[in-house]
């Protein structure tokens, strides 16, 4: 290391991004500048570097000019790093001899009000990129062999369903359940929308299926106590039996977390909860509907009118549960419909904040309102006031639909619609697996849209409502996608992993253990080589975070692609003075307004200037005179304002719009 030969034939591509970059950064000047840089073989401008045609041209360039490194100055590597790595690979160049420089997010977008400065910064960053690529090493992915088994934590609907799928795809599955029976919350639920199947039946069928599949091992009353290893080769320690009689060490290529949720329990006294038998939560209420027959008796009296207060403990703008629990509106509607089906002479009164029976579940809302349910909206700041006296419940609420009239509701029963919360023990699970939790205390995925079931720990996936409130359909959808994702990893003979990991210079290492101490991923271990005790790195576990490098007293550890040589050369590249040609003088003939790097105004700008030369005008006036949409004119006037081509000069008579005048 450190003695690599510098690359001699580097290709530089500076992208316009269709104007996103080139409107502010002088890409042509930069191209000329980079062409003169040492070791740069070709330097080009491209309208869209990521376009197919351009990718093909890059491949051609690399082959024809025998390039040994490429730099693309375009957008964030988050967007196109892999695009251009693939380009390099297709051209026969090692993908790690490619460096992406982000001149869009870091220059043109960030400094659009100082285009000249943005160009200077871009020049520095591109030079740093050229330096970095000239010292870049050709790397090969870390390959590991994966164990084709999965540990699923939690045997609710999500866990059971994904267990079946993973087993069908040829994996061994260990399904852990904390409780003494599988099925989770759903097993205790009655008729489910829209099929009418009971939760008990649904879970029983899945369980029967699981029992028929020999490659699924279900452990009830089991607790995960420790997790070691990494993707492809985890070891999950489990205590089985209510007293932890048996300790198992299960091998797992991946872990799927489907631990589910906890129903939210209101505080004592919140809406009089706990003060009367006539105030219960929705889950309690649903149980009562299921068990009762003929007449509904709760708290020692016959029930005919039920008030539901929604969003209890949820959507708290001031409290910890800021989220909407999504499922409770539907669940309440469903309960109200079941109630009317099962018992005579019932009346439901819904005290809600917003009804969110999204998707097909809207049908339930429609049915509930058509069966004569009463809906009263309340605001978070003005919640219903509940007072109880023995079995009697009185609710005071403001009705916004009758000019904020104060109303009094005296239902036989008050049901508090509570939602889903993260489980209390999710914190321990997060610690065991080293996966992050969000502010809402649910487990966090890497990216809610792009990688919705993966966690930052390779090989640990999320399914179901441990990730946030979900209904059964959504829980199973997410756990199945996690199962597919897991299988995609484990089905290969060997797993390829990013080679950007820490490595040890064994000659220098004296094994002080400091690096192992700081490593969050247990990736560094002690080993003996050639009779010397040194540190070793598990390439499969290491994430390349780099925390180990600064703590090493002898500088014996570094991260590939971030070697001292590369970083130092980048600093040198960045610090080299940049001299941009002054373009102001060149373009100064057109108009005297401060133009920055603008060579010529667009036609519409000239027209706008012509309009406001005689007298200051507002945007609607300009739009009218030019017979243009005022949104269009707003856009242009705002841009011109930004470039100090025009400025606001007071307001119109109605004090509604700014007047604009050319800035001289």
């Amino acid at each position: 290391m450190g003695n690599q030969e510098k690359k001699k034939r580097i290709g530089v591509y500076i992208c316009h991004c269709g104007g996103n970059i080139s409107d502010y950064v002088d890409v042509e000047q930069l191209r000329d500048m980079m062409d003169k840089e040492e070791n740069v073989a070709i330097s080009k401008n491209v309208m869209f570097a990521c376009a197919d045609s351009n990718q093909k041209e890059m491949v051609k360039d690399i082959r024809e000019n025998n390039l040994d490194g490429i730099v693309v100055a375009s957008c964030s590597p988050k967007l196109h790093l892999h695009t251009f790595r693939n380009v390099a690979q297709r051209a026969g160049l090692n993908p790690y001899n490619y460096v992406q420089v982000n001149v869009r997010e870091q220059c043109s977008w960030a400094h659009s009000d100082h285009p000249d400065q943005a160009s200077v910064k871009a020049a520095g960053l591109i030079r740093a990129g050229i330096q970095r690529v000239s010292y870049s090493e050709a790397l090969e992915p870390v390959k590991i062999k994966a164990i084709k088994s999965v540990v699923i934590v939690g045997a609710g609907v999500a866990g059971m369903r994904s267990a079946i799928e993973l087993a069908r795809m040829g994996n061994e599955v260990f399904l852990m359940e904390k409780e003494s029976r599988a099925g989770g919350h759903v097993a205790g639920w009655n008729s489910l929308y829209p099929t009418g199947t009971s939760g008990e039946e649904l879970t029983r069928k899945m369980l029967e299926q699981i029992r028929r599949i020999p490659s699924i091992k279900l452990f009830t009353s089991s607790h995960v106590t420790n997790v070691t290893g990494s993707l492809g080769n985890f070891t999950v320690e489990v205590n089985v039996g209510s007293h932890g009689e048996e300790v198992l060490k299960l091998p797992a290529g991946a872990i799927l977390v489907t631990t589910g949720f906890s129903p939210n329990i209101p505080d004592e006294g919140q809406f009089s909860y706990g003060l009367s038998e006539s105030v219960i939560t929705l889950p309690e209420f649903k149980k009562r509907i299921e068990t009762a027959s003929g007449k509904l008796n709760i708290g020692g009296k016959e029930i005919h009118s039920i008030a539901f207060i929604y969003c209890v403990g949820m959507r708290q703008s001031g409290g910890p549960n800021k989220y909407c629990s999504r499922t409770c509106c539907t669940s309440t509607m469903h309960a109200s419909l079941e109630l009317h089906k099962k018992f005579d002479d019932m009346k439901s009164i819904h005290l809600y904040r917003d009804i969110r029976t999204y998707g097909k579940q809207e049908v339930l809302y429609d049915q509930a309102s058509k069966q004569g349910d009463l809906f009263l909206m309340y605001k978070e700041k003005e919640p219903p006031v509940v007072t109880v006296e023995g079995k009697k419940v009185k609710i005071e609420v403001t009705d916004h639909l009758t000019s904020k009239r104060k109303l009094e509701v005296k239902p036989d029963l008050l049901v508090l619609v509570t939602g889903m919360e993260a489980r209390d023990d999710s914190k321990q699970m997060a610690q065991l697996l080293k996966i992050p939790v969000g502010n809402d205390r649910f487990f966090n995925e890497i990216h809610p849209k792009l990688r919705p079931v993966e966690t930052v720990i390779n090989g640990v996936m999320l399914g179901g409502s441990c990730q946030g409130p979900k209904n059964i359909t959504e829980s199973i959808q997410s756990s199945m996608s996690a199962a597919a994702k897991i299988n995609a990893l484990l089905c290969k003979d060997s797993l390829e992993m990013e080679p950007i990991v820490a490595r040890i210079t064994e000659e220098a290492c004296t094994w002080c253990g400091k690096c192992a101490e700081v490593c969050d991923y247990d990736a560094i271990f002690q080993m003996e080589t050639n009779g010397k005790v040194v540190a070793g790195v598990n390439g499969a576990t290491c994430t390349g975070c780099g925390i180990c490098t600064p703590v090493c007293p002898v500088d014996a550890i570094e991260v590939a692609q971030y070697t001292n040589l590369e970083i130092e050369s980048m600093i040198d590249g960045f610090m080299a003075p940049v001299k941009l040609e002054e373009k102001l003088a060149e373009a100064g003939t057109e108009s005297s307004a401060g133009e920055g790097l603008m060579k010529e105004y667009p036609g519409i700008w000239k027209e706008i200037l012509k309009q406001i030369e005689a007298e200051p005008l507002t945007i609607p006036q300009i739009a009218q005179q030019l017979q243009q949409e005022s949104q269009q004119i707003t856009y242009h006037v705002m841009t011109m304002n930004k470039y100090h081509i025009l400025e606001a000069a007071g307001m119109d008579d109605d004090h509604a719009y700014f007047l604009y005048t050319p800035k001289l």
């Binding site: 009118s305 009346k347 058509k370 009758t402 109303l407 009094e408």
Partner: protein, 371 residues
């Protein structure tokens, strides 16, 4: 504090408001209504009152009587909650609630009772009608235990009670109208204006005419004499005309005055007008020409049918008198005419007919709110 009464919906259903629970308060009905105003917000608000069971708000409202049931709201309702039939139902509810004896409630809520009661009353009236023929066996038998004076006085008492029920009904209505916080301030100097407002409205049904002046409406392009407002106007003025003519006849004590006599001419014209109005109203209801005519309650039918029969038999008799026929048929027709007319008068306070009093009172009161 207003107590929510969820059972009230069921009560209103008995008065003909069936689907209003489906209302989700979008307010389309109020938006399309040509009669709703800043100070008179309906139908949406009133559907909400019904849903919440705020009975007092319904009973103390003028709005109930400002609606002419044109049916625009029902047409615009995205939930098929039927705001127009709902408004009609709360009018029935109001009539039944103001009336003190509770008879109206029974008549409106139970069709079998209404039929039974009307028939029984008809038989009773028919029975006593024999007394017009003192020589008849039945009459002799009646007079045997009930002298003519008693019968006469009894009739007077019954008519008196009807009148009393109406007076108490109006008083009840006024008590409601002037209860609560938002009651209008009564000012003497506004009284003439209020009278003018009511008379204006009665004379040409200005408000009703607003109802069906939409361009894309079913009635657009149709001659005015076919419009619902004119039908209503015909029935109303036809009946008033007949009432006046009958009173004049009664005053002159000689019903067989020559046909050119002014009271007779008035009677003939008014009768024609009423016959036209009731016939058209029934025809529209049978054909269900617009939404407004789709839902007709039994009490509506009964009212219309009675008016029609009264008118028809009246003409029959008119013609019979002119050609001096004295057949048995004519006598039967006479009995029917008299029974129906008397039932109309006796049941005035206990039927849909009562709106003829309550609406002007509400309009009178509304003038003070408006101005």
């Amino acid at each position: 504090m207003n107590q929510v009464d969820t059972a009230f919906s069921k009560e209103l259903a008995k008065y003909g408001a069936s689907d209003f629970a489906a209302c989700y308060n979008c307010g389309n009905c109020t938006a399309v209504c040509d009669l709703t105003e800043k100070q008179a917000n309906f139908p949406r608000m009133f559907i909400r009152y019904g849903v919440l069971g705020l009975k007092k708000d319904i009973l103390k409202s003028r709005e109930v009587w400002l609606c002419y049931a044109c049916g625009e709201c029902t047409k615009a309702c995205p939930r098929q909650a039927g705001p127009a039939p709902y408004m009609a139902a709360i009018r029935r509810y109001a009539i039944a609630s103001y009336e003190p004896t509770g008879l109206t409630k029974l008549l409106f809520k139970s069709n079998p009772f209404a039929i039974l009661f009307t028939v029984a009353l008809a038989v009773l009236l028919g029975f006593f009608l024999f007394t017009l023929k003192p020589d008849h066996d039945v009459s002799r038998w009646i007079f045997n235990w009930m002298p003519f004076d008693v019968i006469h006085d009894l009739g007077m008492i019954i008519f008196g009670l009807t009148g009393l029920a109406l007076v108490i009904g109006v008083i009840n209505m006024m008590r409601h109208l002037y209860s609560g916080n938002e009651k209008p301030v009564f000012e003497w100097k506004k009284v003439p204006g209020a009278f003018r407002y009511v008379l204006d409205e009665m004379a040409l049904l200005k408000r009703y005419r607003n109802c069906d002046d939409d361009e894309e409406d079913y009635w657009a392009g149709k001659p005015e004499w076919q419009h619902p407002w004119f039908i209503h106007w015909s029935i109303m003025w036809g009946f008033i005309g007949l009432l006046v003519a009958t009173t004049l006849d009664f005053l002159f004590k000689d019903p067989s005055l020559a046909i050119w006599w002014p009271s007779r001419i008035l009677g003939t014209l008014a009768g024609l007008l009423m016959m036209y109005g009731t016939s058209m109203a029934m025809w529209y209801r049978i054909k269900k020409v617009t939404k407004a005519y789709e839902e007709t309650q039994f009490s509506d039918w009964m009212f219309l049918v009675f008016l029609w029969i009264a008118g028809f038999t009246g003409f029959w008799l008119e013609v019979a008198v002119a050609i001096s026929g004295h057949s048995v048929l004519n006598q039967v027709i006479f009995v029917i005419h008299t029974i129906i007319s008397m039932e109309l008068v006796i049941l005035f306070a206990f039927s849909r007919f009562a709106h003829a009093i309550y609406r002007p009172v509400a309009l009178f009161s509304y003038y003070f709110v408006k101005s």
